[in-house]
């Protein structure tokens, strides 16, 4: 089982925190993770807003590469439609691998925030098309060391050699965040391991995982990798304190998500490729924000080490085996809460998780 930390680089929820301090705290967490035996550090790509600001996750990961020797470094994810030069994405991935001595993991994503699309001046309706076109170009260039001549709908690219030449294949270290049916299918086609944030019902996640597995198997004629499931987490040996912190900060995090992505807005239904989000928006409006927030807090894995292990196991009964990412720092929490999560999880949850049998047998 692979166990890592995803970093969201957020100042939303804090009062008077500087952007520098956000980075200091997140870098600190990454260094703790390296020492405590987490397998990888993932970091988002986001721009412009308090919600999250890491405009170039390759630059952040290169900084970590300079400070660490062991932990793997994953873009979680590179948002392809916001990178108008797919060539550079391939170059940056190859470069990170050189700078880190082979520790790069390439995670791709499509991007959900209209706020960010607008400030890039890129129409959200083009996201699906841009992602699909760029992803194919980048994945191939990383395998061969050459981005071949390409004349597509969104990108016109002469032949270009990637230097420094990719050190090694990215097969087995290509991931994709997939939260909608067409993203799930795209991940399968690309041969990427699928990563999901757990904010839907486990039955919904199960259906999506099954769709991914079937499509992957069909396309590649070999078993699909297990998915990566990502939770917002508070881990604490005190059940009471864990619950207090979760009820406050996990809930606030959800509010930041709802605000930043305008999740209950009606712009999704008319945006090509985002129709599923339109349906979700309708459902959320019917539930009301409070009920949505309650359900979200309920659905994340947090608590004492034993409570978390029980939740992880219960999830395993439904969806089968999966790799784990936890998000420990978010939404205004005092830094020691995040540090405690990282430490307690490493000491009391991780060893147990690693002992589970993670052969690719799936639940019925």
């Amino acid at each position: 089982m692979n166990i890592g930390i995803e970093q969201v680089m957020q100042s939303w929820g804090w009062t008077g925190i500087s952007d520098e301090q956000v980075y200091d705290e997140e870098i600190n967490i990454a260094l703790m993770a390296d020492e405590l035996g987490y397998d990888d550090i993932w970091v988002v790509e986001h721009h412009f807003e308090d919600y999250s600001f890491c405009p170039d996750n390759f630059v952040y990961l290169a900084h970590l590469a300079g400070r660490t020797k062991r932990i793997k470094l994953a873009t979680g994810a590179v948002i392809l439609p916001w990178n108008i030069q797919p060539l550079r994405v391939a170059e940056k991935a190859a470069l990170l691998d050189h700078l880190s001595g082979g520790r790069a993991i390439l995670g791709l994503g499509r991007g959900l925030s209209r706020r960010e699309y607008d400030q890039f001046g890129i129409p959200m309706e083009e996201a699906r098309g841009r992602f699909d076109e760029a992803a194919a170009m980048i994945v191939e260039a990383l395998e061969t060391g050459v981005m071949e001549e390409h004349h597509g709908k969104y990108f016109d690219q002469p032949r270009a050699v990637i230097r420094p030449k990719p050190r090694a294949s990215f097969k087995g270290r290509l991931k994709q965040v997939a939260m909608s049916p067409d993203s799930v299918e795209e991940a399968a086609l690309l041969g990427a391991q699928m990563m999901q944030f757990t904010y839907k019902s486990m039955d919904t996640h199960k259906a999506e995982i099954e769709a991914y597995t079937a499509a992957y198997q069909k396309h590649h004629k070999r078993p699909a990798p297990i998915p990566i499931m990502t939770d917002i987490t508070v881990c604490d040996s005190s059940a009471e304190r864990a619950a207090d912190n979760a009820n406050k900060y996990v809930r606030d995090y959800l509010l930041s998500v709802m605000h930043h992505y305008e999740m209950m807005g009606d712009h999704f239904k008319d945006a090509k490729g985002y129709e599923a989000y339109g349906d979700t928006a309708v459902a959320m409006n019917e539930m009301g924000l409070d009920a949505v927030a309650d359900a979200y807090v309920e659905g994340q894995v947090w608590g004492t080490p034993q409570q978390m292990l029980d939740k992880f196991e219960k999830r395993r009964q439904i969806i089968g085996d999966y790799d784990i990412l936890i998000i420990p720092r978010f939404a205004g929490m005092p830094f020691e809460v995040a540090q405690r999560t990282v430490e307690v999880f490493a000491k009391e949850v991780m060893p147990e998780l690693r002992s589970w049998d993670t052969a690719a047998t799936r639940a019925a």
Binding site: S18, D19, E20, V22, Y23, I27, H47, F48, E49, D50, F53, C54, P55, D56, F58, V59, Y60, A62, H63, L64, A65, G66, R67, I84, Q85, L87, R88, E91, K92, L95, L96, H98, L99, S100, D118, Q119, F120, G121, D156, Q157, P158, R159, A160, V161, I162, R163, P164, K165, R167
Partner: protein, 376 residues
Amino acid sequence: MHVGMASIFQNPQNADGVSDYSIYQQDMALAFAAEGLGYESVWGVEHHFTDYTMTPDPVQFLAAVGGHSKKIKLGTMVVVLPWNDPMRVAEKISMLDCMSDGRVIFGIGRGLGRVEFEAFKVDMNESRERFVESAEMVLTGLENGYCEYDGKFIKQPRARIRPEPFRSFKNRTYAASVSPESCALMAKLGVGILIIPQKPWEEHAQDLADYSGIFRQVHGVDAPPPYVAGWVCCDKDAGRAEEMARKYIVGYWQSVVKHYEMQSSHFENTKGYEYYKKLNETIEEHGIDGMAQFFMDLQVWGTPEQCYEKIKEIHSRTNCCGFTGVFSYAGMPGDVAMKNLETFARHVVPELKQLGDRPAFDQDADQEPAFLRAVG
């Protein structure tokens, strides 16, 4: 004088089987050793696609160096604006500064390699205009905390730079400039000049005089002193140093001619590159090998005393406030490059630090960017 070193990750022997990764290991070792040896900055260059220099993103390289170090400054020599999305340039530079506690020196340039312009599908004829628009957007953005531009080539809706700049980039922004027209342009933009020597020092000195005049005229204050780079072969044995220079500096010159297609006639009809047409003619007149000696004589090689004297001479011509040496290039073996770096560090760097003035970026008390000063 401030003293730095640059890593250029050059692999001219790739066709003979030398892997890009072995060059990375070699040149990263030098960059990581720099702070301990007393260098005050590490610089990265931007180039793509060829053996010539394999750093497509110098900011990413410098982020790794920044992670590995505590106080050494991190300079771009340069970020080539026409090849980049300028919003991302502003963001990356601010990120690097944020993560390194304010150690960035921001060098920008226009770009010269046709191979790069073509692969990025940017018309070389437009490079000067694109450079100006991007520079205006990025430099203003770094002082204002947000970018916004409606130009002929660059269109950017208003967007905040996050993580936000927390220290002003005035006094730590340089532009690489070789043509006289570029120097005038840089004066108007209000940036310092970064000299990567390619022509007789009298000509560089003339450009600087013109630049200083325009700078004072436009901005009402004295221009900052320039910053100089040079290719170094430093050995306590004079004969060995010269042999090294004949092999590696000349080798480097050959890689320049190859990567930039200096013998091709494409500069003739490219708007904004008239200076290179002249250079083209000079090369035709003297030949590549004739020019090699000239290029070699512009660089810094010899015993430590000879290297010091050469930089002192450059200083007397330019009043430069800093020198960045390149120590690994043209297929130089790793141990030779490291010895080059160490010899220079031990015997020349301490002397250089006593020579002339320090640059403003080494003297500045922390100055906030304009938008934070306005709030505070």
